[in-house]
């Protein structure tokens, strides 16, 4: 996506656009979830913390970022394994944290 358009300086690629689209989709899904079941679903789970759905999303995304970084630092590419690990981690957080 190069050229002289207004956002050319942002150097968009389809991969990074897909990444942000995923984040935005998560936020929209959380909003819809909240509208359908208001209150945020607070509870205390395996982390020993009082968390709402938003907290659990944040913990999942932050944890996923660290899973990817750790994999890149200690193992390298390809990144399918940390992707799977991240989804498994997010499932555990949403289900039991």
């Amino acid at each position: 996506m190069q050229g002289t358009s207004l956002i050319a300086w942002m150097a968009w690629t389809w991969q990074t656009a897909a990444f942000f689209a995923f984040i935005i989709a998560c936020l929209i899904a959380m909003t819809v979830w909240e509208l359908r079941r208001p209150g945020g679903g607070p509870r205390r789970g395996i982390l020993g913390l009082d968390t709402t759905r938003g907290d659990r999303l944040f913990i999942s995304l932050l944890g996923a970022a660290y899973i990817f970084l750790a994999w890149l630092g200690f193992v390298g590419t390809p990144l399918w394994a940390p992707l799977g690990l991240s989804f498994a981690y997010a499932f555990v957080i949403f289900r039991w944290a």
């Binding site: 190069q2 150097a11 690629t13 990144l79």
Partner: protein, 287 residues
């Protein structure tokens, strides 16, 4: 009875959303885009994938800067938090002394960061600075421009001078908010000064101390301007903290891809630490 929901309130939030979008979200998105590409300027980019992340994560230069940063923050916390608490405990609670102390404490916080760096740069110069010349006249071999230890000493001293006041003001606010009844009860029980501190003041200051630790840790972990002006990261790389290293990489070497990857890793470290501190703080409050 149904509660009325006024959706027009969203319009009031809109200016903040626009402001945050332009000063945080759009730059952050751009950094993410840069972190997976290589550029030689002129808005021409080449896909690099996660190479820069791998390079940074396995780079001794990054590890060293991170260690220096952590060590600096640990030293700052170990000095500023106890010192700030001691000064707050020693400050008067009534009379003209309160205003004088508060003004004196607020002064370092009002000075722009680059001016603080410039002041200490001149103050600590071994040839003409009051501190540098004074220490050398006393027989110390002090030259922060060529000795790593004295460069660290000067940087830490500068930060302590600049930011201990913040801890003092927070602790002082916490101390004056403790109701007199506690002190009266302690007096009736014949409690010693230490017992008053240990069982009344310290527990009551728990929240402000957590905030002080959080603020000072985050700020010292992101220190840039003062060190940049004082030592420029030297001598050698002795005071090259993460932010200074990032500056060297992005603006000195113009390696925008690796610099973007490094800034994202730096951001994630700060985000994790902030979350941990915030969670700890909320947990303490709940208890």
């Amino acid at each position: 009875m149904y509660k009325q929901v006024n959706q027009k309130a969203w319009l009031l939030v809109l200016p903040v959303v626009v402001l945050v979008a332009f000063n945080a979200i759009i730059p952050l998105m751009t950094v993410v885009n840069y972190s997976v590409q290589e550029t030689f300027g002129d808005n021409v980019f080449f896909w690099a994938g996660v190479d820069w992340f791998q390079q940074i994560l396995n780079s001794p230069r990054f590890h060293d800067a991170l260690l220096r940063q952590l060590l600096f923050s640990a030293i700052i916390l170990a000095i500023e938090v106890p010192l700030g608490l001691i000064i707050a405990l020693a400050m008067p609670r009534k009379g003209i002394g309160v205003s004088i102390c508060l003004i004196l404490m607020a002064l370092p916080l009002l000075i722009p960061w680059n001016v603080v760096g410039a002041m200490w740069n001149i103050f600590a110069l071994p040839e003409i600075g009051l501190l540098g010349k004074g220490l050398n006249n006393l027989g110390f071999d002090y030259n922060y421009t060529r000795q790593p230890v004295t460069a660290w000493f000067t940087t830490v001293l500068m930060d302590v001078w600049h930011w201990t006041s913040l801890v003092v003001l927070l602790c002082y606010a916490g101390l004056v908010s403790i109701p007199d009844d506690y002190y009266r009860a302690a007096k009736i029980d014949g409690a010693s000064a230490w017992a008053v501190f240990r069982y009344i003041q310290l527990p009551k200051l728990k929240r402000v101390l957590t905030i002080a630790v959080l603020l000072r840790f985050m700020d010292s972990f992101m220190i840039y301007t003062e060190v940049k002006v004082l030592t420029g990261g030297g001598p050698g790389n002795a005071t090259t903290f993460l932010s200074i290293d990032l500056d060297k990489m992005a603006l000195g070497q113009f390696d925008l891809g690796p610099a973007a990857a490094m800034s994202l890793i730096y951001f994630l470290i700060i985000l994790l630490l902030s979350w941990l501190f915030y969670t700890l703080m909320m947990r303490n409050e709940a208890q």
